[in-house]
Amino acid sequence: MRRFLLIAVPYFWLLALFLVPFVIVFKISLSDIALAIPPYTPTLDFSAGWAGVRAFFSALDFENFTWLTQDDLYWKAYLSSLWIALISTAITLAVGYPIAYAMARAPEEWRPTLMMLVILPFWTSFLIRVYAWMGILSQEGFLNQFLMWLGIINEPLTILNTNTAVYIGIVYTYLPFMILPIYAALDRLDESLIEAAEDLGCSRLSAFWLVTVPLSRNGIAAGSFLVFIPALGEFVIPSLLGGSGTLMIGKVLWEEFFSNRDWPVASAVAIILLAILVIPIVLFQRNQQKQAEAEQ
């Protein structure tokens, strides 16, 4: 009985916080847009009894999903989101790995401080930090002024409102999520393994590729998923830093929801996004599980 209760509590939370909202959103995605509050039909009317329930279910259809396949805006947005998320994950990995490596190799007494520095940005609101990047990247921004002062460029570069700015924003925002799992993996790495590799004829570099990288693979995978999954649905960064050419599904979703007030289509977009995300999430879970097994 006690065991049952212990299991029931997390399941209850999962049900209340994930399954119920999902069912609601899924239901809206099957509804039709309406000029009402809430802005869709049908709504479940229990006063009509059994006939009301039947009428409710018969009014649901997959029209909105069909619509998503007809307008090429949507699949282009999905593809472009996948692409942007993929590229920014790769860049975050390329930037994050050396940082994590340096942290793991730093003297013991320095590590808490370095860890602090990585987490420090979380102390400021995410929105403020993205706004700050607008100030840095704009035509008259710090970056352009600095580059012109150095004499590297004569004309200010257009960075803000381009995909480049989106990449910068995503990499900057999600970098800690990449660094921390890789750092955790590298920190556990036994130094004598590197020595053994060198003893058996590896140079420093080949010992890194043959021992360090494979042994931090779980950290790399965890970090990549932690960046890729939220980046795919990212909305704030493309809307603030991206331009009209930046097509991301998060932005489309927002526009459907708030500009067009088309809740059913917005919900359908969200359901498809979730379906796309299920694949990396499942892979992520498998990775975590494998890691836990390997540590036993």
Binding site: D190, S192, L193, E195, A196, A197, E198, D199, L200, G201, C202, S203, S206, L210, V211, P214, L215, R217, A294
Partner: protein, 375 residues
């Protein structure tokens, strides 16, 4: 000099393979190796023996290239190797912690070093198979290190370090986790490999019996210093001092004052009202000088009556009997309270043992049975 006996350390013209010259290693203010000089010759099986923390691993790591000496120089085959990276040394090391690659199978672990040499595939396969056979790991070739037992892991580490057939092989406690039988087999296997390949071995061990079995020479260390470097029989039969005598095997130490007699014989006053003990010594002792008589338990004879004509005989009563199977060790308490150990071979069945607890007995040994030490 006889050519059949392998004693390069006695040949003044022999060139050592390894030469430590006044090597000191400090970690911060802590001195791990203290002004140590040592020559190890090619084809030697050299054992480092000493208490935990005396610097054995540190010496190995300096040979392997993982630590640089703070002072002094280390030569390998006549060349200064300080500053040469580990992968550029013809030295392989078996790590005390094994350091097996957890992401690679047993097979790949053993093949790791061979692959780095870019040897042909067939040769690698043959060599790995040979190593697996040697360490009896054929059945576990496909497993990962976390899927095998501690002793098996140790054998993988051994196989991996042997695979490249290096000029110098460093073994840091290679057999600690093996059971007695397998350990003995592996010891002989190691000696066999050594004979066949002519590899020079430096082995660290906590097991003095192991050191005695395998080594051509043994070095006893303490606090970063070498106390004695000699062949196993010399270490055992004529230890340089009380520390070595006490560290290697079981020993009775009797403190006393020496009085020189004839023919290097000394009379040792060791207890009030007792007849002085007699012992010979090649080293000189002055009259009244404090000395220590070290007697191995197996050199002490135990009997009910005082043996006829025994030079050294003391009386006591049996305090304890340690039955070791083939041997029994009797702990005999003397009237002064001192306990002397005597060992006898159990040639008869235990029920027919001549002595039991509380029995009054005589202990005796010859003039040459003990070693007289200065400190």
């Amino acid at each position: 000099m006889q050519s059949t006996v392998f004693t390069p350390w006695e040949d003044p013209d022999a060139k050592p393979l390894i030469r430590f010259q006044n090597v000191t290693k400090r970690f911060g203010t802590f001195t791990a190796i203290d002004d140590l000089s040592l020559d190890i010759y090619e084809r030697e099986f050299f054992a480092l023996l000493g208490p935990s923390g005396c610097g054995k691993t540190t010496m190995m790591r300096m040979l392997g290239g993982f630590e640089t000496p703070t002072e002094g120089r280390i030569e390998l085959a006549g060349k200064d190797i300080v500053g040469v990276p580990p992968n550029k040394r013809a030295v392989n090391m078996m790590f005390q912690s094994y350091a097996l690659f957890p992401h690679l199978s047993v097979w790949d672990n053993i093949a790791f070093g061979l692959r780095r040499d870019k040897r042909p595939k067939a040769e690698i396969e043959a060599r790995v198979a040979e190593m697996l056979k040697l360490t009896r790991l054929e059945k576990f070739a496909g497993r990962k290190p976390h899927q095998i037992s501690g002793g098996q892991r140790q054998r993988v580490a051994l196989a991996r370090s042997l695979a490249k057939a290096p000029k110098l092989l460093l073994l840091d406690e290679p057999l600690g986790a093996l059971d007695a039988k397998l350990r003995q087999d592996t010891q002989f296997e190691l000696m066999d490999i050594q004979e066949k390949t002519g590899t020079t071995f430096v082995i660290v061990t906590h097991d003095q019996e192991e050191a005695m079995t395998v080594a051509s020479r043994v070095a006893v260390m303490d606090e970063g210093k070498l106390i004695q470097v000699a062949t196993p029989d010399r270490i055992y039969e004529s230890p340089a001092n009380v520390y070595v005598a006490d560290f290697i095997g079981d020993v009775n130490i009797i403190e006393g004052r020496a009085t020189p007699g004839e023919d290097d014989t000394y009379a040792i006053d060791w207890a009030e009202g007792e007849v002085p003990l007699q012992a010979t010594s090649a080293t000189r002792f002055d009259k009244g000088q404090t000395c220590y008589l070290a007697i191995r338990p197996e050199k002490v004879t135990i009997s009910t009556d005082r043996p006829e004509g025994a030079v050294n005989a003391v009386q006591g009563k049996v305090l304890d009997i340690a039955y070791l199977g083939n041997l029994s060790t009797y702990h005999v308490e003397l009237p002064s309270g001192m306990v002397i150990k005597a060992q006898t071979a159990n040639t008869r069945r235990i029920s027919r043992r001549s002595f039991t607890w509380e029995d009054p007995v005589w202990l005796s040994w010859t003039v040459t049975g003990g070693v007289l030490l200065a400190g």
